[in-house]
């Protein structure tokens, strides 16, 4: 007993002690965020580079440990921090109202401007939030700019930094509001776009778990030291992102810190308005799935019939379609359709989503119908032909109705799968049920309730279908 308690006392009792004992500061970030934050330098064999890499090393050195990078999807940095995947989140994490209540922020290491960009030929957009009222404005989902825009403009949420500017050039949005670092790298090089102006200042700070105050304080001291010594300025200048704003970092006070955190209002409570938003998201999901299936079914039948009965060249083409669409990720297909083909065909997000999902599912439906058609006895076709029916008529009147009945349970199952796969279209800015859930989860600083409601809504949509499919199968088995 005595030995045990002795050990207990010797064990690390604080976060800082834990980090020091481990000898590493594990910091979470996303390489996908790209230059100049954290990225792999292709010229140096993929070495990790970026101003945040240097910052993490400098801070670790101050703490007397090594910095260790942990790759994590950017949108899940905070949940991963909470569950202990790494010690701190350090990757352009903006100080927003939603995050303040959830994590403990250090003093900022960078002050950015929320930069508004518009098309060069569009004079309606001014450097004020008010001028954005009713306009479609792109930004990163759950970012500081997203918070600014909500309730003012029609916000189009993105998951990558390049896509908002592509869509702005295409005219799918009227403006983009994002951190100046991002605008400089991804927006300003586009000749079609102009900088309208910077709306407000925002802050990047290091996120620490709420209970680990000592780690936060140690990091604050370390930050203060490297700011005072000029190392921070050297790092930021090295990435060409030092601006006049950063001077404020040199004289950062406790008051400044309070003001930065204080602008953050209390988080929202989960309420009726969220349920309404969820219902809207569910409606989008249902509509999207139904329309996609309406496209996938006839296209799939066409593909299956062409593959089985068409001339050799067309049959091969249909086969190639099926293999291509089944052999590549639907996410990639959506990207190509929406962004890749944008210079040629400019589809809106919802039609692109329906087309993308429909064309993908058509490949699967084609295989279901092919199996169905092949399961119809040969004699049915022979009887039809012997009565003078042409091949198309025989297919339409005799073979396909029977094949369709055989395929119906599989088709229903595919529809249920589609209901859930439709969440992928959030990458092309469609806000459906799952996207609504992640947005709400950030708003209310918790995943449990929105997650449960989201799951319930999917279930309410798919379970009746599932029951229907079961009854159908039973009925078919009897006949």
């Amino acid at each position: 007993m005595a030995v045990l308690s002795c050990h207990g006392r010797a064990a690390p009792t604080s976060a800082l002690a834990r980090v020091r004992a481990a000898g590493v500061l594990r910091w979470g970030g996303d390489i996908q965020g790209g230059e100049p934050y954290v990225y792999e330098d292709s010229e140096h064999g993929g070495r990790l580079t970026g101003f945040e890499v240097e910052l993490a090393s400098a801070l670790a050195r101050e703490l007397g440990v090594r910095a260790q990078f942990v790759q994590n999807d950017w949108s899940a940095l905070i949940p991963s921090l909470e569950r202990g995947t790494f010690d701190v989140a350090l990757n352009g994490v903006e100080v927003t109202a939603q995050r303040v209540g959830r994590v403990r922020f250090t003093r900022p290491y960078y002050i950015f401007g929320a930069r508004l960009m518009a098309r060069r030929d569009d004079a309606r957009i001014l450097a004020t939030l008010a001028s954005l009222r009713g306009r479609r404005v792109g930004t990163l989902a759950n970012s500081y700019s997203y918070e600014l825009l909500r309730g003012v403009a029609e916000v189009v949420p993105y998951e990558g930094v390049e896509e908002p500017y592509i869509d702005l050039v295409q005219g799918r949005t009227d403006a983009v509001l994002l951190d100046d670092i991002i605008a400089t790298r991804y927006g300003e090089p586009k000749p079609e776009l102009r900088v309208v102006g910077d709306l407000t200042d925002g802050y990047y700070a290091i996120a620490v778990r709420p209970a680990e105050a000592d780690l936060q304080q140690a990091l604050d001291r370390a930050l203060a030291r490297i700011t005072a010594s000029g190392e921070l300025e050297r790092i930021l200048r090295g990435s060409n992102i030092w601006s006049d704003r950063e001077r404020r970092l040199l004289a950062w006070t406790d008051d400044d810190q309070r003001r930065m955190l204080g602008t953050a209002a209390a988080g929202q409570r989960f309420g009726w308005s969220h349920v309404v938003l969820f219902a809207k998201g569910a409606l989008v999901t249902l509509l999207l799935s139904a329309l996609s299936m309406c496209l996938a079914i006839p296209l799939g039948i066409g593909l299956a019939v062409t593959r089985l009965y068409g001339p050799k060249a067309l049959s091969r083409l249909a086969g190639a379609y099926v293999e291509l669409y089944r052999g590549t990720p639907v996410l990639l297909q959506l990207y190509v359709l929406y962004y890749g083909l944008a210079p040629i065909v400019k589809l809106d997000a919802l039609p692109a989503a329906v087309l993308g999902l429909g064309m993908n599912y058509a490949a699967y439906e084609a295989e279901v119908y092919r199996a169905g058609i092949q399961a119809v006895p040969r004699g049915q076709m022979e009887a039809a032909l012997s009565l003078g029916m042409s091949l198309p008529l025989a297919l339409r009147r005799v073979v396909l109705p029977q094949a369709f009945r055989l395929a119906l349970p599989s088709v229903t199952n595919d529809f249920i799968a589609l209901l859930k796969d439709s969440s992928l279209v959030s990458v092309i800015t469609v806000v459906e049920l799952t996207k609504q859930m992640t947005i709400t989860a950030v708003d209310i600083r918790g995943w449990a309730l929105p997650g449960a409601l989201c799951a319930l809504m999917y279930f309410l949509m798919s379970y009746p279908l599932s029951l229907w499919a079961q009854r159908l199968e039973a009925r078919l088995a009897r006949s």
């Binding site: 006895p377 049915q380 009887a383 032909l385 012997s386 009565l387 003078g388 005799v398 109705p401 006949s479």
Partner: protein, 246 residues
């Protein structure tokens, strides 16, 4: 009515039809008999293009079918099939249609007959095969004999000039064979031209005018049914009919 000239079909190494020449007259009932694998069914299926052949030709009521299958004969086949009905060993009723639905399908959708007229005629035909009471039944609800009688009514609904029957009773339970043969006898009595592949020798002898014996893809014997069946000349026919064993 139907002329077959030097019809040849080869399947890999195997000769299915070895140059068959035959003529089938209007108003005649002809039985095709012989051991399994002799080419009877294949010959029958060549007549309405369900099988292709390698050389020779088939002339049906002035329409000529040539080697090369459906691709070559598309237009001719479409006309031939409207004039030649077919009844299959496995009935092949449309599984998703009722008895009446099966019968009126082709008149309505191939000939473009008005639904009311096709339905009326369909009911007459079902009455003729003794199945008025089953018009709403689906194939899976009927016995084999009933299904085959519906299949005959379905073929008749297109008013064919010739009816091809491919072993129409072979897949039936023995006690169901009679009802189908009765229907066929009645049709023969009405003067319908029929070509029937069958193993029912008594039926062939009583009902058909002429009998062709196929063996190894050749017609080895033909003549009036009674003389061929009662007193075959060819030894293989005798062997097939089991006459030598007695």
């Amino acid at each position: 009515m139907i002329e077959v000239h030097e019809l040849r079909k080869v399947y890999g190494e195997r000769t299915i039809l070895g140059g068959i020449t035959a003529t089938f007259e209007k108003g005649q009932v002809v039985a095709l008999v012989g051991p399994s694998g002799g080419g009877k069914s294949t010959l029958l299926r060549c007549l309405n293009g369900l099988e292709s052949f390698d050389s020779g030709r088939v002339v049906v009521g002035g329409e000529t079918l040539l080697p090369g299958g459906a691709k070559v004969n598309r237009a001719a086949l479409h006309r031939v099939r409207q004039r030649v009905g077919m009844v299959f060993q496995q009935w092949n009723l449309f599984a998703h249609r009722t008895a009446l639905g099966n019968v009126i399908e082709a008149p309505v959708h191939v000939k473009g007959a008005p639904l009311a007229q096709a339905t009326e005629r369909g009911r007459e035909l079902l009455a003729r095969v003794g199945l008025s009471h089953r018009e709403g039944a689906y194939p899976h609800e009927m016995s084999g004999g009933e299904q085959q009688r519906v299949a005959i009514a379905r073929a008749l609904a297109m008013d064919p000039e010739v009816l091809l029957l491919d072993e129409p009773t072979s897949a039936l339970d023995p006690e169901r064979v009679g009802e189908v043969l009765d229907v066929l006898s009645a049709l023969a009595a009405d003067g319908l031209t029929m070509l029937i592949v069958t193993h029912e020798m008594r039926f062939a002898r009583e009902v058909s005018h002429r009998t062709l014996v196929l063996h190894g893809g050749q017609i080895i014997e033909e003549g009036p049914s009674r003389s061929v069946i009662d007193d075959p000349k060819h030894e293989r026919t005798r062997a097939f009919l089991g006459l030598d064993r007695k």
